[in-house]
Symmetry: C2
Subunit: 307 residues, 2 copies
């Protein structure tokens, strides 16, 4: 595949940025990758494992001469980074991000983008429960959607170029406006994460069931929740603080439905339960047919250890 | 491994029973496996794939001469089966079950067990989102707990023999009383399943986000929920109808915690969210260390398809 950008600067070197490094290199998409992370420990690790071609000690230095700057920091840190890098951005460069929320990121970053620089927010729908510069891998984005959220008057050639980069990293791309993105993600990601965190917290809290029982008997369903509840706490705090309205709306619907099922249990209404549980099977089928998950039992994981 | 029972009869031939067939054969644990299923279609499939040594057309015929009878039917069907097989049970035989709820199964089945027959309820904590006689596989129980729930006056040698069978099938065994079992499972399995069903139902319902969007963008977290929400609807209906009190208790705790997090989101209380999300990571670590799940990102599943 042809080179899409000469020089890409990644600000923040966690799971997404480190996966981008591997994915861009796998396909030879860029000339040079430079990076910056706020924590000196992260910068040291990135240097040690040769994650980027160069790791700078400031964000402003890192973005100088970059054709593409990608903000890979928690949503709550976007504004400070944008303020810091703005004066150093190259004319004609593109600034993008990978934040899980789009409206507040656009509001926070947009005002700092100088004339002559393109701002094209994006969100790759991919992740794992691991974090940090060592957690990245080239396949993370394969077959996953990356949603681009360009302004209506965005430069089409700049949008297409960014899309080309994501396709080169293995993704499919879609475009959406910020409000719709935030609602869709509240349904497919933010509310499920909040619920998983809550369920795991309850299990940990319930004095009459010990933690060791929860752990030993987790294979009955609970362990699937613990995977998503092990995700990065700072990232997720910022998601909820910044996608408040949509998350609260979906949560409202969720508790409404949960109460209806709770009442069916209390009243012994088996038909209501059976109908509900039958309907939800179809969605799983759709996800497997769309190639977004495996049909192998238990995700194809093997039973980890025999002792 | 030595043979544990001469003849085992499985009543119901779904995921658990069919996995037991494969697991018992793998280790040569029994002389003969016979079976029965209510649906003639299931019996035909079982015969076609050679699941058991013999498939009978009635439960009473199947249990005759069996040293171990295992009820592998939904919890709500246990009583009718117990009534039907009771007169045909062999003196000295053991009756067990694999139901996800223990108190109501004991109350439903116990009264029909004749003198001279051992009744030892059990629950293997293993499953997948698939069901039916073709869904079984020998490895399902490997490294998973099977909880035995014998009465206080149960015959120890009969309990030990059943435990030996489960260990031979790859499980670890524990003993517990019925009430504690039902509470532990309400936490580790029943409530998580109800919540997953609810979240998937909400996603399907929310008119402003289309089903195709939910499906395409599911990899952001939601797809983990759809796996457990694809489980057998009849089985799960019966679980909730029969573990009402414990499920409602845990659900009460769940909504309490969820409301606290919801308020933290509404009030912008980032510290509360961050602390909560940090605490839940430790449980995941415990599950991985206990060998009950894999540490591979996203359960080690690969991205299913590239198109």
């Amino acid at each position: 595949m042809a080179q899409v950008y000469d020089r890409v600067a990644l600000i923040g070197l966690g799971l997404i940025a480190s996966s981008m490094c591997h994915a861009m290199r796998r396909a030879g998409l860029v000339g040079e990758i430079v990076g910056y992370a706020r924590s000196s420990e992260t910068r040291e690790i990135a240097r040690e494992i040769g994650l980027c071609d160069h790791v700078f000690d400031s964000a402003a230095e890192a973005v100088k001469d970059a054709d593409l700057v990608v903000l890979c920091v928690p949503v709550g840190a976007m504004e400070a980074v944008a303020r810091e890098i703005a004066p150093a951005l190259k004319h004609g460069a593109t600034v993008s991000d990978v934040g899980s929320v789009k409206r507040t990121v656009i509001d926070a970053v947009g005002p700092y983008i100088p004339d002559g620089v393109h701002f094209i927010p994006a969100h790759p729908l991919a992740g794992t429960e691991h974090s940090g510069p060592r957690s990245g891998f080239a396949e993370l984005f394969d077959n996953r959607y990356c949603i681009l959220v360009p302004a209506q008057n965005a430069d089409r050639s700049a949008v297409d170029r960014l899309s080309q980069l994501w396709v080169g990293m293995g993704s499919k791309t879609d475009e959406m406006d910020a409000e719709h993105h935030d609602l869709v993600l509240a349904v497919t990601s933010h509310t499920p994460h909040l619920i998983a965190y809550t369920m795991v917290g309850v299990a940990d809290d319930l004095g009459r069931v010990t933690d060791s029982e929860v752990i030993k008997y987790s294979a009955a369903g609970f362990r699937d929740f613990t995977r998503i509840a092990a995700s990065d706490p700072v990232m997720w705090r910022d998601v909820f603080l910044n996608n408040k309205e949509a998350t609260l709306e979906v949560l409202g619907r969720f508790t409404e439905e949960l109460f209806a099922l709770q009442r069916a249990i209390r009243q012994g209404d088996g038909d209501h339960l059976h109908d509900y549980f039958t309907r939800t099977r179809a969605i799983r089928r759709g996800i497997i047919e769309a190639g977004q998950d495996t049909d192998a039992p238990n995700f194809g994981r093997s039973n980890p250890r025999k002792d």
